[in-house]
Point group: C2
Chain length 571, copies 2
């Protein structure tokens, strides 16, 4: 549908879903405001996600700072890898994303192409500067984290998080403790992410500040996925890495279980969350036939990922839009933070039965002799032989030679009850603004020349509109009372301005699923009409039945969920 996306953006702005921030100052690229309807819709998307991804599994949620010190993002790999290629016009000095410039000129370059290649392509293809028309470029790498100083000292560099995930990994030890040290452990975080995009242009798609919902699912890599059965038959539309690498677009349809068994998805829990993700996006109104999981070839993946699928939605008038990333992060993050901080973030699990493990041990044959041979350093030697993995090297570092010391090497067999490892991580990560764009775009339609926003009732920002047929004869008083009562249970809008037809139209345009009208019959028999947005059909119900009937129509009442895990282990 040509211009469909623009029409959605226009509606969103006019009715107050979202608009560009700081318009009175000319606007700032990549910064958007959610207006009243946007906030309400956002909150409903968040609640739906919470119920499907968090509560259902008994997972927990944390809230960590957006700001982090340099060493956290150095350890996570972002300081070295979170870069975009920036092309600077050598005549006017304007800067653009090099790969986007190429794409707009119809030159293909992969997401992870090195800067030299991009510079060669830009200059070789004489790509013009959109600002001044010149075609000489210098391409370099630009760190897309926002940098600042934390505190009054200029050396204390910090960054705004590009993902909420690091605030979960750095706090893993304590979260694991307060949830009583069990795996699998799901930790969610809902909050802002920040990316200093070079030249963001598309409304609500490429943002410098955005709302994320992320789940870090920590698991034993040797355990299976406990939830697989529930989704095993769900069909996943997958654009495999191999096809994507060749620039192909063909999607295969494969069940979640088959995708794992055929090695297309490398981790069973990753497949589980892909299936859950498809259900979630479907419940936002996007048909499954217009979703796909786009496997990212190695050089296009984030530095931490062993496998990534972008969950993409075919948005009318816009094309494929990534609304989520599902990544198998392995133990990259916990291992990196353990090494960088010196704090062990590994966990131990009790083995079903003890295992026998062979290892080498060093024993001191004479303490007296050791004190003589090592002098003051004898305590260091004791420490090294009891804990070091490479005692010969460490003892040499003390200026001693192992063979001069009274040490005896023993091969022993130990009975081991626990296994230590870094939990592996599967991460589904959502951009709320993009989900909103996808949902609004699929809801947008016309009927008899009028806009109908057929949002699923669970994410509609206003659930019920209440209208008096006319604003006199006490109809408005009754309608206002009904609106106020329904407000206890629903998001309600009251409107008595203009003809009833205009009011229905205004409500349809912002996706209010049901409109209640108070008319003269209400005064005589206490009934009202409920008008359905999508069919324009009406039904008549008694006032006493109204709230129950609306709850039924709206499908209010969440799915079952598991009890919180603040409590101790259940078997």
């Amino acid at each position: 549908m040509e211009g469909a996306y623009e029409r959605v953006v226009e509606l969103a702005k006019r009715r107050g879903f979202f608009w560009q921030a700081y318009e009175i100052y000319g606007g700032v690229g990549g910064l958007y405001v959610m207006g009243p309807l946007g906030v309400s819709m956002k909150n409903k998307i968040v609640e739906l996600w919470r119920s499907m991804f968090v509560r259902k599994h008994g997972f927990v949620e944390v809230d960590a700072p957006s700001l982090g010190p340099y060493r956290v993002f150095k350890a996570s790999g972002h300081v070295d890898n979170f870069m975009d290629p920036v092309a600077e016009c050598l005549r006017c000095g304007r800067k653009f994303r090099a790969d986007h410039l190429l794409a707009e000129s119809g030159v293909r370059a992969g997401e992870g192409a090195p800067v030299e290649e991009l510079e060669r392509l830009l200059n070789g293809n004489r790509v013009r500067c959109p600002e001044c028309g010149a075609s000489e470029w210098r391409v370099s790498r630009f760190l897309t984290m926002f940098e600042t100083r934390i505190g009054p000292y200029s050396e204390d560099v910090g960054f705004l998080r590009p993902e909420t995930a690091q605030g979960i990994f750095t706090e893993f030890r304590r979260i694991y403790e307060v949830t009583r040290e069990r795996l699998p452990l799901g930790v969610a975080q809902i909050g802002r992410g920040f990316r200093n995009e070079i030249s963001p242009r598309q409304a609500m798609i490429r943002l410098r500040e955005f709302n994320m919902m992320e789940l870090e699912f920590f698991m034993d890599p040797e355990a299976g996925c406990p939830y697989m059965d529930e989704v095993a038959g769900d069909v996943l539309p997958i654009l495999t890495e191999e096809v994507a690498e060749r620039g192909g677009e063909d999607v295969i349809e494969v069940s979640a279980r088959d995708a794992v068994e055929r090695g297309i998805v490398r981790n069973a829990c990753l497949a589980y969350f892909m299936a859950l993700s498809a259900r979630f996006v479907e419940s936002l109104g996007v048909p499954r036939s217009h979703q796909r999981f786009h496997g990212k070839p190695a050089r296009e993946r984030a530095h931490y990922s062993a496998q990534t699928f972008d969950h993409e939605v075919d948005v009318p008038g816009l094309g494929w839009l990534e609304v989520a990333g599902l990544a198998y992060r392995t133990d990259y993050d916990l291992r990196s933070h353990s090494e960088a901080s010196g704090k062990d973030l590994s966990v131990s699990v009790r083995l079903p039965e003890p295992e026998l493990v062979r290892r080498t041990r060093w024993r001191v044959s004479s303490m007296e002799e050791l004190r003589r041979a090592a002098g003051d350093r004898w305590k260091d030697v004791m420490r090294i032989i009891s804990s070091s993995e490479d005692p010969a090297r460490e003892i040499a570092a003390l200026g001693l030679r192992m063979e001069d010391l009274p040490l005896v090497r023993e091969e022993i067999v130990e009975k081991v009850n626990v296994r230590r490892f870094y939990p592996h991580v599967v991460e589904p990560s959502y951009g709320i603004e993009r989900l909103m764009v996808a949902s609004l775009s699929w809801a947008y339609g016309m009927r008899e020349g009028r806009v109908i926003l057929s949002l699923p009732p669970r994410v509609a920002p206003v659930q019920v509109a209440v209208f008096p047929l006319v604003s006199r004869d006490g109809l408005d008083d009754v309608a206002r009372r009904i609106a106020s009562e329904l407000s206890r249970s629903f998001d309600v809008m009251y409107d008595d301005d203009g003809s009833i037809g205009r009011r229905y139209a205004r409500a349809d345009e912002i996706g209010v699923p049901f409109a209640v009208t108070v008319d003269y019959e209400t005064l005589s028999d206490g009934t009202v009409t409920i008008r359905h947005r999508d069919t324009w059909e009406q039904e008549r119900v008694g006032e006493g039945e109204l709230a129950r009937r609306l709850a039924e129509l709206l499908g209010v009442g969440g799915p079952a969920r598991s009890p919180a895990r603040s409590g101790p282990r259940s078997r």
Copy 2:
């Protein structure tokens, strides 16, 4: 209670309400993480605030970026005023907040004291450096906004917002339009605020990143407060500006209405929100007798405020803690942004009846003559006489003299139907972390040597615990089923680990108001016990009655609220 605050912080950390962020890297001052229980409690405080401050009045909520460009915070006055005095030790170079150093040394200086005075006081009183013991200081002003660059150009300075409010003021025009141009208009925002504190030390009290709930209430300064009647008799404990200025602590108790009539509170809506604020904080468990409104003397007020009351709570073991600021911001913000942006943010209201206004008008007596006398500039002259407030000056700026032009001065009387003005703003602004500390501190108590966290049920992070008496004979299966069913409506925790006494103790410590126990009687007659946290009393109810009884005990079901105002005006 000595050490009371420390005990609360210890509990919060051990059970996962909150802890210092990035502990594995040694921690970063002023950055905290909310753990699972903290997030749940925070969400409940937010919902309570929404119901009392937003929904009840039919106000709206927006969500604006944390990042803003330089010119927004220049216009708002923050670039020039949002400063703290920093004292640098001339020997070791460490930096501290000058006024805090003085206060810790028992030297009194007002909040707004100039840097020269602070430097004189530090050096004059030979205040020692906490780091190296020296006592020579240099004091300067430090901008406590986090600075960054938005985009790839080094000149594009931006800041992280120190309050969410500016994201409402800059967007006022559009918010006003989508809510159909009515006053009063309440616009709420819930989100992060950032302040680059110089040397934050107190846990969760002085944070560099924190969660705020702000309401900007826009009103016609000539209208009264439509909500006053509801709170007119509520008693406000006020430490007046005059008493505070003298360093006094005496609080007067005065009704909201009297406070306005006696001129103690300068705006009726400010008094209304103070009364509402006292009710809100009371509902978090802080008795009214331990709250006060601390009037800020002029030099201690923020630059935008005509009157400010800090809403303070007496926290056991900590003293008076500011949990909210209630400010009368007048039209400072809308006026400043209008002037800086060149976009008119004033509004017009229709007068009840037209008013006659006398004004001066200039008329051209002969267009031909004007073209001769002004040449090419005749169009400028036309523009100036039709719109300028000082035509003589502007015409002189064109190089012309008014008396040489064919202009006739007329005194006319105009009928005016509308009045234009900048809406005035009253702002209640809350720090969620501080509310949490206040609530937890007042909930913390001991009973028979055990900790009981007597949180009000509405803000308890876990509402219901479900225990099998023992984990055998099917009791655990029944308990798990009940927990799962209750999870549809409540935040539930299931626990079957250890003796029933230990489980009650663990639940009491995190403030679970009600514990449901499944015992052998359950198997025979289908009844369970509900145990009350604060009294340890038990009642027996049938399983079928359980959810209803818990809802009753928890007081679930919000207060009435007004329908949303996305719809058009109601009269």
